[in-house]
Symmetry: C2
Subunit: 337 residues, 2 copies
């Protein structure tokens, strides 16, 4: 049989409760006692039984994670978000239970009702996501990564896509740009549930108007011709575009760069380019691209912090938008020159 707290207590010559308190630190323990307990634990290789701990302590130290595999999301990003969540959770001694996509609703109910998890992290939230109502009614600590249309009664963490887009505009305009463009995802993406493409687009346009820049927007439709058309539209009849922001998948961005080079453009001499809210590495592009990244680690770490606080009862539901950061790689004109 496995080693139990009883064995540790016996070996250390103390009572069970003393061992428990030494482990949790919830009551002071004498110096010598603690040391002999620690020695016993090390010698016996004791690890608390998770089931018993969950039953008595009302804490399983497990978080559920639901991640739908949306086509709008860059494929490797799915994994990156899940792993970032797992890593962040480990910081607080938590493990994660992965719910499958098809189990989104019943799986959430199941894990919540059976109290197998202390909380739920909901990844890649849609504008109108069936999981939001569920989370509200489940009454289990939860935090969402992404921003649903209605956030009341929910804790949400997300990159401030609006601000990220604005940041790109500022960079262009500060660098002297008069005409700037945004290449977005395919049209279909904007009518589907994910709202971050919309937030980027609208944020870009709004900031451009405020800064007095002429703004052009095009969607990258699938296929070579669709992309070529988008580029033509963005560059304009006079090929007078000063700055181009891209918010679309990595392959498309790479192809755009190829096409621009093929047309004789030199970046940033003829055109400044910024990659917006990308989860992939833009430093391997040629040329490497300035980027305002969407960093899975950042969102996930914050989400886990918030849910732990909620589990501990020290946190209200609220919305938290993460400030974007700008990473220079030389694809824009240095500001002020």
């Amino acid at each position: 049989m496995a080693v139990t707290i009883k064995d540790v207590a016996k070996a250390a010559g103390v009572s069970i409760s003393t061992v428990s308190y030494a482990l949790s630190g919830k009551r002071p323990i004498g110096e010598k006692t603690r040391r002999s307990i620690e020695a016993a634990i090390a010698e016996l290789g004791y690890a608390p039984n998770a089931g018993a701990r969950a039953l008595a302590g009302r804490r399983t130290y497990i978080l559920a994670v639901t991640e739908p595999l949306r086509p709008d999301t860059y494929e490797p990003a799915h994994m990156a978000f899940i792993l970032a969540t797992a890593r962040a959770a480990r910081q607080f001694d938590y493990d994660i239970l992965l719910l499958t996509q098809e189990e989104a609703v019943e799986g959430l109910e199941r894990v919540a009702n059976s109290r197998i998890v202390d909380g739920i992290i909901v990844l890649d939230v849609l504008n109108d996501d069936e999981r939001t109502d569920l989370v509200r009614k489940l009454g289990v600590p939860a935090t969402l990564i992404g921003m649903p249309g209605e956030t009341t009664g929910l804790t949400c963490v997300d990159l401030d896509f609006d601000a990220a887009a604005g940041m790109a505009v500022d960079r262009f305009v500060d660098g002297g740009a008069k005409k700037i463009g945004l290449l977005g995802h395919a049209e279909a993406v904007y009518s589907r549930g994910s709202n971050f493409p919309v937030r980027v687009r609208d944020g870009f346009i709004r900031r451009a108007e405020r800064r007095g820049a002429e703004v052009r927007f095009a969607t990258a439709e699938p296929g070579a011709s669709g992309l070529a058309a988008a580029i033509d539209k963005l560059l304009g009849e006079n090929r007078d575009l000063d700055g181009l922001a891209m918010h679309c998948d990595d392959q498309t961005q790479a192809r755009v760069l190829e096409l621009l080079l093929a047309r004789g453009y030199e970046i940033p001499r003829d055109l400044a380019v910024i990659s917006v809210a990308s989860t992939f590495d833009t430093s391997t592009f040629s040329p490497p691209l300035d980027v305002i990244p969407l960093i899975p680690e950042e969102s996930c770490t914050r989400a886990v912090e918030l849910i732990i606080e909620e589990i501990n009862g020290s946190r209200q539901k609220h919305l938290e938008l993460l400030a974007p950061t700008y990473i220079e790689r030389g694809s824009t004109r240095a500001v002020g020159i």
Copy 2:
């Protein structure tokens, strides 16, 4: 507070143990009694407390999954394997706990010692994997997906890569090919820990020798020139290659097809092509490629079946190689014509 088995028992007017037996089916329950219990459960929305169940029943209904993110593995395949495992596990009412890469060893020890999982699924096993010894000594049910160098005392499931490569050879030779080639991963991959590339290569060469075909092998080194060199080597000085098998990543395979077309090849008229042990979709290539796929669902389903049997005590440790299947898409000459 949450509803417990006690509440159900009271509502149904029976004892706690009767409810438990009705739920587990381990003892016969009268028809009327069962119905009133079911009604009570439905009405109250009862779900057994996972912690209590684990403590009393010595079963947590959780499996741990460890998946290292090797660069040799096609990126989306990581996720595919994990999800396939999760789905298979759900068939048996199991959930999965995802261990992070950096926790490979201590995480395994932790979950095993704390009895938070009933078993461990080890994904993407290396030839010489630190996790194999650990699994052996942990004494927890486990099954590995992949084949380590030393399999004694372990349950392993993997595609029979050797047979898969042989199947490609057979297809070529049966179609009349005399000279066949294999394009493998980059050289570096063969000296690293994953052994399936080696198994494919050796299986291919061995079968080709047995079937009396001339065999050529080349590795796809990174970069355009590396690939071009590999193709030149494979096609031979007289451009007399009859069949080409590819066992490398999706992008490389797509580029090879482009290059072949550029050189005026028509597939399968001038050259038969087969994709071997691929996890990606080869039907979207132009032309679509015959493939002997590596199917995550298959390996993972079998692995979960085996571990469940081991948990239930009805299965010995053993090695199980999955027979490959051939999928035609018209990139080889039809056999016998």
